[in-house]
Each structure stands twice: as structure tokens, then as C-alpha cells.
């Protein structure tokens, strides 16, 4: 265990005290409940934003289960990601209603505006675009989800406004950080 901890890259959430504390707390609270692995992974994904390889190894050590089991579960579910996302996520609903309702056109538009394909993050680490399953807002198709906010009835010419909001915010945060 100790040896493993020494090999963690400095950029990993495990190497950052605040995040490490969150991870430990999630593990402590859930490792003994039946079926706890799913609960832990969901919490990690939600609160840390992704589940790195080192985090998976850490979970397996703490829960005393093989790393391959943890890895098998992480890779099975599409919600779990092993690399960090951008500061903002723009998800395009690819459910039936939205497909019929014009989401494919919006994706073209996003590719043009941001210069990245679905599944990728802009080089400045600001925005990740993703395709997702029906988010249950079909009556408002086509639907785009920006971070947690659901935007319905998005027409292609309204779409840049939605994007602009995240882009501007992104600029502000990076300016603040600078």
C-alpha cells in the first residue's frame, strides 16, 4: 500500500490533500454496505469528476477486492470516466425524440464553433462536448444539457448564445486564476 502511494503522479486527485480527504471519506462511509462499490464509484465520479487509474487501485486496496474487478465495473458503465473533463460539459441528447428533433445539426454547429468532436475537450480545458442518452425532457426536443442545466427547443441559430455563456464564464475563471 505504502509503495503504491509513492508511485501516484503528483497531478492525481489522490496526491492532493483536499481531494484525498473526500476520497477517504467516501470510502469510509460506503465500503461496508452491500453493493458498496457502485455507490463509491458514483460518488467519486460526482465529486472528483473522474476516476483515475490510481484511484481505482486505491479503491481496490481499501475494499480488499482485485483491481481487475474495480476496473471491470468502471469500464462497463459509460458514466464513469477515467480522465478529467473540461470545466464545462455540453451534452447533446441522442435520444429518439432529440435525434428526430434536430440534435445532429446542433452537433455540427458545436464542432464548428469549438473545433472538437464529441468526446473531446477544447485544448484550453474549458469545454467538453459529449453525446448522451435521453435525459427525459423529450417533449422539449432537441435538448442540450450545459453542465446541469437543460436547454430545450434549441434552434441552431440560438445555440451559439448558449455556448457563449459557458465560453465567457470559462474566460472569466481562467482570468481569475491567472
Amino acid at each position: 500500500m505504502l509503495k503504491f502511494l509513492e508511485t501516484i503522479p503528483a497531478t492525481d486527485p489522490l496526491a492532493k490533500p483536499e481531494q484525498r480527504q473526500i476520497i477517504d471519506q467516501i470510502l469510509e462511509e460506503n465500503k461496508d454496505i452491500p453493493g458498496g462499490l457502485m455507490v463509491i464509484l458514483n460518488e467519486l465520479q460526482n465529486r472528483i469528476g473522474f476516476i483515475s487509474l490510481a484511484m481505482q487501485q486505491y479503491v481496490s486496496h481499501k475494499m480488499r477486492i482485485p483491481t481487475s474487478t474495480v476496473h471491470g465495473v468502471v469500464s462497463f458503465y459509460s458514466f464513469f470516466t477515467t480522465t478529467p473533463r473540461g470545466r464545462h460539459t455540453v451534452k447533446f441528447c441522442m435520444g429518439t425524440a432529440c435525434y428526430v428533433g434536430g440534435v445532429p445539426q446542433l452537433i455540427e454547429k458545436a464542432k464548428q464553433t469549438l473545433g472538437v468532436d464529441p468526446g473531446q475537450t477544447t485544448p484550453d480545458g474549458n469545454v467538453t462536448i459529449e453525446l448522451c442518452r435521453c435525459v427525459g425532457a423529450c417533449s422539449q426536443a432537441p435538448v442540450v444539457v450545459v453542465d446541469e442545466e437543460v436547454h430545450g427547443r434549441v434552434r441552431p441559430n440560438k445555440f451559439p448564445q448558449i455556448l457563449r455563456a459557458v465560453l465567457d464564464q470559462g474566460k472569466q475563471t481562467s482570468e481569475q486564476q491567472a
Binding site: M38, S78, T96, A97, R133, G136
Partner: protein, 594 residues
């Protein structure tokens, strides 16, 4: 002093400015100048206009007092021409009133009957007292104090309640099996995975009336002899999870969950577990694996969950809607319930109507209603008064139902008889502008992606189907493709372990069965009759209607459109990727597909 016949007040609060009020102002000036209206119409800036819920940028036109909202610069040329030159109000740009409660669930329409949705939008889901005021937890009280587990099962049996999650198995039959299975520890599980795209009935119940599900589960737990339950909710529904957790806490505080409920000695508690984006976890055996913290792969049945379920213990899994019906059945009696519906399908069913119908949203109707009544009487018909082509039910494992079956009474058996399924209640209304081959391809992309990969026919077969369908859509179809699709479909159906593989071919088979000529047009004539498949169409700008407003050119993602302001624009077919955006944004119907 100049006299203006109209005034435009443009909102320039910070939020609208961020979304481009300045561009709107510029464009308004531009357009007014070019139409020679500057001396008649005055443009003024103002801070926020009235309703904070309306999306900006917005503006109000006086003297009419018309409020246009959610505008973009691209709307301005059209708006100016229509409103100020021709004097017509532009309905599609008018501010929509944000009715907070409901875009997806309006007041019941004439042919609707609300049982499961009765409290939705009426009570505050985060306040258990409002549920109690609607006779909430009365059914549980009645069950615990007056009925034996066997009478509960008999009552539900008499009502004829069938599972609302897909297969339509009699709920009480499953409860009976679980009750009879030997074992001290048993579980009840609620399937809130609702993975079918286009379906959101369960989400609505969980978010608006969570206690009806909790109460139904508690009654089922009493009937089968379980003390613990799980609600498995998909990760895409964070609000439902939150609402459920609040509801469970309040139910515990009020003594409807926990030890010795209502002083009767009955113990039952409940927790919510979240999925993580795998569609196959809606299948009940996969769902149980996932709750156990494993990969959500289905396993063969038998043994059925009622015998060996969660952690090898007898388990009863029902859908959200199935449970939500139970308290009403107990309170109003099985006869009341059985009086609704058809001979074999009793009660009501919720459907999520989406697609090309005028009134999209949630509906609840008694079984036996016809598709025609649903689409035309409740749905208000097809958008833009186009023609209906098909109704798709049952999600990706369901099928297309063509218009010749519009008078089919909707129940489990009738839908199956035309090759589709009831599924959980997604209903996509498809108009004449939809390509059936493309739709079949879309569903196959979904199932192919969601196959868990355990069975070779499902994993490899769906990929093969997708390849062939994609080829046909790209204009590279060959003679024999249709037959190959049919043969492969039969194999996948016969040799797959779970319902995903078994149902995956349904969209392909029904689209071939009812729309074979569309496949043939793609394959033989390299033509897409609905003008959807990108490789088989081209876009053209018509000289007459094009006003040169530049909207299309500015919105084309690949800059395929050229043209001067106020002159007819032109699409370069070598650059155009046929995305169709220009057609969507053009306000003058100047773009045609060939």
C-alpha cells in the same frame, strides 16, 4: 417632433447583453433603414422587461404590446419584414409564457384518465403532508391492519394489474412466487432505470409523486415478506434521486418506513441506488447485478428473481408505474381498477408522446384506446399539418406501427400482434418527413452500443445489422441486403440471452415489413424518399423567395453558402455536408432539398 407609429423597447439588462442585445439593436437599425421605416419606428433601450422567467434577448413592440423573446440576430430581418412592413405578428417568436408547472403535463385532455399521474403537478413532492392529504399511506394502513399478505396478493390479482416495465407479467403472480419461495430474507426492488430514449413517464412520477411508489413498494414488501427494498434509478435523473431521498427520509420520520410501522410490527426500509449509464441495467437480472456493485450483465432465467434474486435471495422487481398503481387498487378496490381497460389489459397506461405531434408530453389513458385517439384527439395531430407515417412504441426493442393500424386498440396483445411491444410507454410519432431506414439505423446504433457483449449473436449481429443499414443510407446498398437483414434478425432474436438482443431486430423487421419500398428506393434507385439520408440529397436555395438576409450563410457550419446581402445566396455542393441547418433557420422557406 417626429411622430413614430411604433416603438420597440429592447431589453438591455446584463443577462440579455451577454446573450447579444447589442447585435439585436444593430440589426434592427439596419433592417429599419433598408425598409425605409426609420422615421416610423423608434428603437429604445430599456432595462429588464417584466417577467424574469422569459429568456432574453427580448423586446416589446408598442402600441400592440407584443412581447418577442429568446431572439437572435437572425430573427430580426424576418421580424422587421413581417411585423413592421406587413403588419403581421410573428407567432413563433412571441414570448412563451413559462408555465412553471407544466410543459410536459398539462391539464388532463378529454380522453385521459389519471390514476398514476393523479398527484403530479398538484402536490409538493417534498412535503409528505400533501401526499397524506390525498389519502396517502391510507392504503398501507389498511393493508397492515386489515389484510393478510395473501389477501393483498388476491386483491392485486383480481385487479388484473400487469407489469408496466415491458413484458406485462401479472404483478400479483410475481408477488405470489416471491412469497412462496423459501427463505428468511427477501427483497423488493423498483426498476426506475427508464432507459428507453423518448420515455420519461417514470421520471415524472418519481419527481412529482415519490410517495406513491414508496407506498406501493411497502405494500408489496408486506405481501411477499420483505424487510428491505431498493430503488434503482438511472444516473441521468439526479432530481428524481434527490426527491426520492427526501421522500424516504420524511416517510421514516412519519413512521411509514422503518421498524414497527404504524405499531403493527411490520418492518420495512428502503434505499436508492444509482445506475451509471448502461441501458442493459434496465433488464431485471442485470439491474440486480448492478445493485450488488458488479458489472450489469444479464444472466439466464430461470432461476427467476422471485427464487434467486439480489444476493441470491428471493426478490420481486417491478417498474415504478406498477408500484404507483398499487395504493389506489387497495383503496378503491380491484373492481374499480379492472373496470378500466380491455379484457386482458386492465387499468391505465402512461405514455410519453414525442416526435412530430403537436402536443408532446405525458398522457395517461385507459388501455383499449386507439392510436388514432391518442395521436389526433389527445396529441392534436401532426405538427405543421403534415401526414402521419408511423407510431413507434416500445423504445429500441419496439417496432414501427404504420397508419393502417391506427384504429388498433392499444393493449399488450394488440401491439404484439403487429410486431411491436408495449414497452414502458415511450411513443414516438413519426411524420412523412422521416426516413424509416434512417430510423431503423438510429435504433440499431443504440442497441449495438448498449449490448453488454455477453452473447455473440447480440454483440456481433447488431454490429452487422448496423453496417448494412448504414451502407443502405449512404447509397451503397446492394440487392440482397434486405434479405440479409431479415435472416440476421431472426438469428439474433433466437440466440440472445436477454430481451435486449431478442428485441433488437424489431425496429428493422417492422420497418422492412411495412416500409419495404423505402428500402428498395435507397438500394435500387439510390433515392431517399423522405429526403433525409445525407448521401442521397442535396440542398438548393430558390431565387424567388430568398431575400438575401444572410441568416443561412452565417449559420452554415462549413461555410458552404455565399452571397451578398439582399442578393440571392448560393450553396456550393462540394462543400455542403447536407446538415440541413440552413433550411431550419431560413425564415423565408427559400431552401429546398432535392
Amino acid at each position: 417632433m417626429a411622430f413614430y407609429r411604433s416603438h420597440i423597447l429592447v431589453s438591455v439588462d446584463p443577462k440579455c447583453l451577454q446573450k447579444g442585445s447589442h447585435e439585436i439593436l444593430d440589426s434592427l437599425q439596419d433592417e429599419l433603414v433598408s425598409h425605409g421605416l426609420v422615421d416610423e419606428v423608434q428603437v429604445l433601450e430599456t432595462s429588464r422587461i417584466g417577467d424574469p422567467d422569459v429568456d432574453g434577448p427580448d423586446l416589446i413592440v408598442y402600441p400592440e404590446g407584443v412581447h418577442y423573446a429568446n431572439l437572435s440576430v437572425d430573427d430580426i430581418p424576418f421580424l422587421v419584414e413581417e411585423h413592421f412592413l406587413k403588419g403581421r405578428i410573428v407567432e413563433k417568436l412571441k414570448a412563451r409564457e413559462h408555465v412553471l408547472s407544466d410543459e410536459e403535463l398539462g391539464a388532463p385532455k378529454s380522453k385521459e384518465v389519471r390514476v398514476v399521474l393523479r398527484n403530479c403537478g398538484k402536490i409538493d413532492p417534498n412535503n409528505i403532508e400533501e401526499y397524506i392529504a390525498e389519502d396517502g399511506y391510507m392504503a398501507l394502513a389498511k393493508v397492515l391492519t386489515e389484510m393478510s399478505p395473501e389477501t393483498v396478493i388476491d386483491t392485486v390479482m383480481q385487479s388484473g394489474l400487469r407489469g408496466r416495465g415491458g413484458a406485462g407479467f401479472l404483478a400479483a403472480q410475481k408477488w405470489k412466487f416471491a412469497r412462496q419461495s423459501p427463505g428468511e430474507i427477501k427483497y423488493v426492488g423498483c426498476n426506475a432505470d427508464e432507459g428507453d430514449p423518448g420515455a420519461f413517464m417514470n421520471r415524472r412520477v418519481l419527481e412529482s409523486d415519490p410517495h406513491s411508489v414508496i407506498e406501493g413498494m411497502a405494500i408489496a414488501a408486506y405481501a411477499i415478506g420483505a424487510e428491505h427494498g431498493y430503488i434503482y434509478c438511472r444516473a441521468e435523473y439526479p432530481l428524481a434521486v434527490k426527491t426520492l431521498n427526501i421522500a424516504i427520509m420524511q416517510a421514516r420520520e412519519f413512521g411509514f418506513l422503518g421498524k414497527n410501522i404504524m405499531g403493527t410490527g411490520f418492518t420495512f426500509d428502503l434505499e436508492v441506488r444509482m445506475g451509471a449509464g448502461a441501458f442493459v441495467c434496465g433488464e431485471e437480472t442485470a439491474l440486480m447485478s448492478s445493485i450488488e456493485g458488479k458489472r450489469g450483465e444479464p444472466r439466464p432465467r430461470p432461476p427467476f428473481p422471485a427464487v434467486k434474486g439480489l444476493w441470491q435471495k428471493p426478490t420481486n422487481i417491478n417498474n415504478v408505474e406498477t408500484y404507483a398503481n398499487v395504493p389506489q387498487i387497495v383503496l378503491k378496490g380491484p373492481e374499480w381498477f379492472a373496470a378500466m381497460g380491455t379484457e386482458k389489459s386492465k387499468g391505465t397506461k402512461t405514455f410519453a408522446m414525442a416526435g412530430d405531434v403537436k402536443n408532446t408530453g405525458l398522457i395517461e389513458v385507459p388501455f383499449g384506446i386507439t392510436l388514432r385517439e391518442i395521436v389526433y384527439d389527445i396529441g392534436g395531430g401532426i405538427k405543421d399539418d403534415k401526414d402521419l407515417k408511423a407510431v413507434q412504441t416500445g423504445g429500441p426493442m419496439g417496432g414501427f406501427i404504420p397508419i393502417q393500424y391506427l384504429d388498433l386498440p392499444v393493449d399488450y396483445e394488440a401491439l404484439a400482434s403487429v410486431g411491436s411491444i408495449m414497452g414502458s410507454g415511450g411513443m414516438i410519432i413519426i411524420d412523412e418527413d422521416t426516413c424509416m431506414v434512417d430510423m431503423a439505423r438510429f435504433f440499431m446504433e443504440f442497441t449495438q452500443d448498449e449490448s453488454c457483449g455477453k452473447c455473440v449473436p447480440c454483440r456481433v449481429g447488431t454490429r452487422r445489422l448496423l453496417e448494412i443499414l448504414t451502407r443502405i443510407c449512404e447509397g451503397k446498398g446492394q440487392e440482397g441486403d434486405i434479405e440479409q437483414l431479415e435472416n440476421l434478425s431472426q438469428e439474433i432474436r433466437a440466440d440472445s440471452l436477454c430481451g435486449l438482443g431478442q428485441g433488437a431486430p424489431n425496429p428493422v423487421l417492422t420497418s422492412i415489413k411495412y416500409f419495404r419500398e423505402e428500402y428498395e428506393a435507397h438500394i435500387r434507385e439510390k433515392r431517399c424518399p423522405a429526403k433525409v439520408c445525407r448521401a442521397l440529397i442535396s440542398y438548393e436555395i430558390l431565387e424567388g423567395p430568398c431575400t438575401g438576409c444572410t441568416v443561412c450563410a452565417r449559420n452554415c457550419p462549413v461555410n458552404a453558402i455565399s452571397g451578398e446581402r439582399r442578393q440571392t445566396h448560393l450553396i456550393d455542393p462540394d462543400i455542403c455536408i447536407c446538415c440541413g441547418i440552413c433550411m431550419q433557420v431560413c425564415n423565408f422557406n427559400a431552401i429546398r432539398i432535392n
